[in-house]
C-alpha cells in the first residue's frame, strides 16, 4: 500500500487528495427489548415500534454477521416471511426492498409497514410461525477502529482491497452509505479527488449491484474492477 510515483497513471485534481485511511469494524449483536413476533400481525406491530437500529440491522448488517450468505434472501424480514410464515408472496415483496434507496430509516420502516398492511388486507388468515421460529429483533454495536494503513493513489486500490478484512469492506462499502453525504461508498468519495482512472472507477463502482453480493463476492468484484481500471499490473 505504499505509493509508486513512477507508475502513478492517475492525475490528481487541483485539490491535494489526502490518502485513503483504511478503517475496520467489528459487530456485536444484541437482542432488543422488543418481544419476539409469532405471527404476521404481531410482526407488523413490532416493526412499527422497534428501534431504528433494529431495522438497520435486519436489512443492512446481515452481510457482516456470522451467518450463511443466503443466496435467496438478503434481509431478515423476507427470510422469516418465507422460512417461518411460508408466505412466498410477502417474502418476495420484502426481498425486493433496497434499503439504500431511502433517505432515512423512518422512510424504510414506512415502506415495510405498507407491504405488511397490504398483505394483511389480502389474506384471509394470519400466518403463524412455529413456536421455535419466532422473529427476534436484534440490533448491533459497531466498534470502528483505524488500521493505520492508507492507500495513496488509485493504482494501489487493487492490492489494498484484496488484503482487507470483511470488516473493512463492510465499513467502507456498506456502512459508508449511512454516513456519507451522498449515501455512497468511501472509495467513491475519495476517488472524486482524482481525475482519469479515478473518474472511471467511480462510474464502475456506481454500477455494482452490491446488495446481492456477499462481502467476499464484493471483494472479488472490487479487486477485478480496480485492477482493470486503475491497475498497474500489480494485481495480487
Amino acid at each position: 500500500m505504499t505509493r509508486n510515483r513512477e507508475n502513478n497513471r492517475s492525475r490528481r485534481s487541483k485539490v491535494e487528495v489526502t490518502p485513503f485511511q483504511i478503517m475496520d469494524c467489528a459487530l456485536i449483536v444484541r437482542i432488543t427489548d422488543q418481544l419476539p413476533a409469532l405471527n404476521l400481525r404481531e410482526f407488523r406491530e413490532r416493526v412499527a415500534d422497534c428501534p431504528f437500529d433494529s431495522i438497520y440491522h435486519h436489512f443492512c448488517e446481515t452481510v457482516i454477521r456470522p451467518s450463511f450468505d443466503d443466496p435467496e434472501f438478503h434481509n431478515d424480514f423476507a427470510r422469516w416471511a418465507r422460512r417461518a410464515l411460508h408466505d412466498h408472496v410477502l417474502a418476495e415483496r420484502l426481498e425486493i426492498i433496497n434499503p439504500y434507496e431511502f433517505a432515512d430509516l423512518e422512510e424504510l420502516r414506512k415502506v415495510v409497514l405498507d407491504i405488511l398492511d397490504d398483505r394483511l388486507s389480502e389474506i384471509h388468515f394470519i400466518p403463524w410461525a412455529l413456536h421455535n421460529r419466532q422473529f427476534f429483533f436484534h440490533s448491533a454495536t459497531t466498534v470502528i477502529f483505524d488500521t493505520s494503513l492508507t492507500i495513496d493513489s488509485p493504482e494501489h486500490l487493487c492490492t489494498a482491497i484484496s488484503q482487507m478484512t470483511t470488516g473493512s469492506l463492510y465499513y467502507h462499502f456498506w456502512e459508508a452509505r449511512r454516513r456519507t453525504p451522498e449515501h455512497t461508498d468511501d472509495f467513491t468519495e475519495w476517488l472524486r479527488g482524482w481525475d482519469g482512472e479515478g473518474a472511471r472507477m467511480i462510474k464502475a463502482l456506481s454500477k455494482i449491484d452490491f446488495y446481492y453480493m456477499s462481502l467476499r463476492e464484493l471483494q472479488r468484484t472490487l479487486v477485478e474492477l480496480s485492477d482493470k481500471i486503475c491497475g498497474n499490473g500489480a494485481r495480487p
Binding site: D24, A26, F68, N132, T141, T147, Q163
Partner: protein
C-alpha cells in the same frame, strides 16, 4: 502452545491485525472465565484456546474451574437437562447441595473473582458464585452455551433470580435467550482449525484409525460424534441407520466420550450398546476425553456426518464436520440450523425417517456431496473459526468497557 500468528495461513494477516487492534483497547483489563470442567465437552474446548489467546493479546485472563462431588454434578446435570426442556423436579435437598458446594468454591475463588474487571461464568453450574461475591468490582456476564428456550419450570424458577443479578448474558442464538433484565448478546461458538481435532491428517493416520476400528473402506461410513446424551438421540440414529440398510450397506460409527460433569453418560451408552448389539456394522465407541486425533480421523473417514440431536446448543461437531468438507445431516434444532442449510451444506431432519431419506439421497448424488463439502468448509472459514469468536468477545468487552451505542470509535 500455539501462537495466534500460526492461524495466518488460514484466515489471513488482516484478521489477526484486527484482533490486535481491538485488544489494544482492553489493556490492563483483568478477566476471569469460570466453568465446571477442564476437559470434555465444547465449553472446555473453547476455553482451552481462548484463555491463552486472550493472554497473548495482552489481556490478563485466568480460567477457574469449580470443584464438586457426584451429588453436586447430579444437581447441575438436573439444571442442564431442565434448562434444555426435560421435565425435572428440583428438590430442596438438591438446592442445598448445590449452594453448599458453590460456597466451598467461593471460599477458594472469591479473591480473584472479586478483583476481576470482567467475569464470564459459563453455563449454570458456577452461576451461584455471583451471590457469594458481594464485594465484586467488575462486570459479570453469564454465558449460556445451551438451548434454554423452554426450560423446566422448577429449574427456571430457581435459576432465574440468580441470573437476573448478572450485568449481561451471552447466548449462541436468540432463540435460546430468556427474558432477563439486562443486555443479552449473541455470540456463536467456534472451532480451532489447528487443534488435534481439526488439523489436516496424513492418509497413513486415517488408515490407522480405519484399521483400528475395522471399518470397511469400500462401504460408506456415517458418523455421529457426541457425548452419550439423550438429547443427541443416538438411538434415533440407529433407527435411521436401520432404515438405510434396507437399501444401502452403510456402516455407522457412534463415537463419544464422557465429561466430568455428566453422570448420565454411562446409562445412555449402555442403552446404545444394547440397541446396536449383534450388528457388526454399528461401531459404538466410548472414547477418552483426549481422543481428539481419533475423532478427527473418524470424521475425515466418513462420507456423511450425522448430528441428529433433538436439542442442541450449537453443535460444534457439525462445525467440525463442515470444516472437513463433509455434508452434515443434522436435527432441525438449535445451532444446527445456523450451520446446516438445506441443499447447501447438508440437510435438516426431524426424524429417523428423514435422516434415512437424506442419506440415501446424498449417497446417490455424489456430486452434490462434493459441492456441499466445499461450501461447508468456506462457510466455517468465514464464520465459525476461533478468530471470529475471539473478535466478538473482544468487541463485547470494548462495548462493556466503553458503554454501548450503535457506533463506537475505538483507539487504533
Amino acid at each position: 502452545m500455539r501462537s495466534l500468528r500460526e492461524y495466518e495461513k488460514i484466515v489471513g494477516t488482516a484478521v489477526l491485525n484486527q484482533l490486535e487492534q481491538l485488544a489494544g483497547n482492553l489493556t490492563g483489563l483483568k478477566v476471569v472465565h469460570v466453568n465446571s470442567t477442564k476437559s470434555g465437552g465444547g465449553v472446555a474446548e473453547i476455553l482451552a484456546w481462548m484463555i491463552p489467546f486472550m493472554q497473548e493479546l495482552g489481556i490478563e485472563t485466568a480460567w477457574e474451574v469449580i470443584k464438586g462431588d457426584g451429588t453436586f454434578f447430579n444437581v447441575t446435570k438436573t439444571f442442564h437437562n431442565g434448562l434444555q426442556g426435560q421435565p425435572v423436579n428440583l428438590l430442596p435437598s438438591q438446592i442445598k447441595a448445590y449452594e453448599q458446594t458453590s460456597a466451598e468454591n467461593a471460599e477458594r475463588l472469591r479473591p480473584i473473582l472479586e478483583a476481576a474487571d470482567m467475569v464470564f461464568v459459563h453455563d449454570p453450574q458456577p452461576a451461584f458464585l455471583l451471590r457469594l461475591c458481594p464485594n465484586r468490582q467488575g462486570t459479570w456476564i453469564w454465558r449460556c452455551h445451551i438451548d434454554a428456550s423452554h426450560p423446566s419450570r422448577s429449574v427456571w424458577k430457581y435459576l432465574r433470580p440468580l441470573l437476573e443479578g448478572y450485568d449481561a448474558s451471552i447466548f449462541s442464538m436468540a432463540e435460546f435467550s430468556k427474558s432477563l433484565p439486562h443486555p443479552q448478546f449473541l455470540i456463536a461458538p467456534s472451532i480451532d482449525p489447528l487443534s488435534e481435532k481439526n488439523i489436516e491428517l496424513k492418509q497413513r493416520e486415517k488408515n490407522e484409525i480405519r484399521n483400528r476400528f475395522s471399518l470397511d473402506p469400500k462401504r460408506p461410513i456415517l458418523t455421529q460424534i457426541s457425548r452419550y446424551d439423550r438429547f443427541k438421540d443416538p438411538l434415533g440414529v440407529i433407527e435411521g441407520y436401520r432404515l438405510i440398510r434396507k437399501f444401502t450397506p452403510v456402516q455407522l460409527v457412534l463415537a463419544g466420550g464422557g465429561a466430568d460433569d455428566d453422570p448420565e453418560g454411562a446409562e445412555v451408552l449402555r442403552q446404545v450398546e444394547e440397541a446396536a448389539a449383534g450388528d457388526p456394522d454399528i461401531h459404538v465407541l466410548s472414547l477418552p476425553a483426549d481422543a481428539h486425533l481419533t475423532i478427527n480421523a473418524l470424521q475425515r473417514l466418513s462420507d456423511i456426518i450425522i448430528q441428529k440431536s433433538t436439542r442442541e446448543g450449537f453443535g460444534l461437531t457439525v462445525t467440525e464436520g463442515l470444516w472437513k468438507g463433509k455434508p452434515v445431516i443434522g436435527g432441525d434444532v438449535g445451532g444446527i440450523r445456523l450451520q446446516v442449510i438445506n441443499y447447501h451444506t447438508g440437510f435438516l431432519v426431524n426424524s429417523p425417517e428423514g435422516m434415512s431419506q437424506r442419506v440415501r439421497y446424498l449417497l446417490n448424488h455424489q456430486n452434490m456431496m462434493q459441492i456441499m463439502g466445499i461450501k461447508g468448509r468456506e462457510f466455517v472459514r468465514e464464520n465459525f473459526l476461533l478468530t471470529r469468536h475471539l473478535r466478538e468477545y473482544l468487541t463485547l468487552m470494548v462495548g462493556l468497557r466503553r458503554g454501548f451505542t450503535d457506533r463506537l470509535i475505538a483507539a487504533a
